[in-house]
Symmetry: C2
Subunit: 198 residues, 2 copies
């Protein structure tokens, strides 16, 4: 006999599917769902279905957005620079510096042979298409300063430099082994300032 | 202009309503919802609605259950002892010891004047009703070993002893300031063994 009634067990399992949510957090969340009103639970489910319905990947940069092209692909941003990041959230870390006025490209991942993630799993194809348009002068590689991010930066640099575009890497002012998402504004500003050509 | 498109912002807000889920966790969860298939999101929402539909508080002990009376209020458990806990999850901490064969009573909270939680906010009324049936010989107060739990135990002991029932408190083998939910089996076993009459 399980410790929980089946519907509670099933809800705990569903919450545990989110990375970072352990058994204790999932149990607490399930009990909150049980305690609070139907209205609040329906609002959560409506938010889940709305986000899937209204949010799409931008056809240019792959950022999640409710418009296509997204806000960062519009005419207010310089088309001469593309900052390549792993995840949509990483865009916010760069935006926080208020120092960058170019465009973005979201890879939706990083190379990781151990986890079976190869170049074909990343959104590299439409990055090459954007370069063919000829407006781009510099690519800033802002992948994470960890093993996967570095490998991805080296791979992209070897791929892109023969095309004749300037390729730079954000400075490793970010603590090595860390995550772009947690960078503070100053560290991120330094990292942009000291980018070096590859 | 917000950092996120409105539907993403709204979903992040909904996840943040769960205590213990911070901004970073909520963002990650929202992106997972965006990335994974409709089917997985629907399964989560179905689990949420099922749990609200199928799980009720047991009319005797207030434990969340898919049956009424719940599994711990059945004839397999001794009606002579009632173990009073703050939350349904705390029952599992006591069950893990395999040393307790009596019944339970869930208060759904603890006294906390600072948070405006008084005796009338706890499920004390139907505990008194159960005592009136005359089968109960001992009440074990297994509220948490922190300020609120101690205050609740003292309040209940003063309320219950005049009725003529034996009232005991689990031993403070549990680390003071801790939480019943995190107790290991041995500590919990000691706490049951060394309960003292109040």
């Amino acid at each position: 006999m399980s410790d929980y009634a089946e519907p509670i067990e099933r809800l705990i399992d569903e919450f545990r599917r989110f990375p970072g949510i352990g058994i204790k957090s999932a149990q607490r969340m399930a009990y909150i769902v049980l305690r609070r009103g139907h209205e609040e639970n329906e609002r959560l489910c409506r938010a889940i279905s709305d986000v899937k319905e209204k949010i799409r990947a931008c056809s240019r940069c792959n950022n999640f957005s409710d418009s296509d092209p997204c806000r960062y692909c519009g005419p207010s941003r310089s088309p001469e620079t593309i900052c390549v990041v792993e995840e949509p959230n990483d865009i916010l870390a760069v935006e926080k510096t208020r120092e960058y006025h170019g465009r973005y490209h979201v890879l939706h991942g990083a190379l990781s042979p151990i986890n079976g993630v190869g170049p074909s799993d990343l959104m590299i194809g439409n990055l090459l298409e954007r370069l063919r348009e000829g407006e781009v002068k510099e690519i800033i590689l802002a992948t994470n300063p960890n093993v996967e991010g570095e490998a991805t930066a080296i791979y992209l640099s070897k791929l892109l430099k023969p095309i004749g575009v300037k390729v730079s890497r954000i400075a490793l002012g970010l603590p090595v082994g860390g995550d772009l998402e947690y960078a503070d504004e100053m560290t991120m500003t330094k990292a942009l300032e000291y980018r070096h050509e590859m």
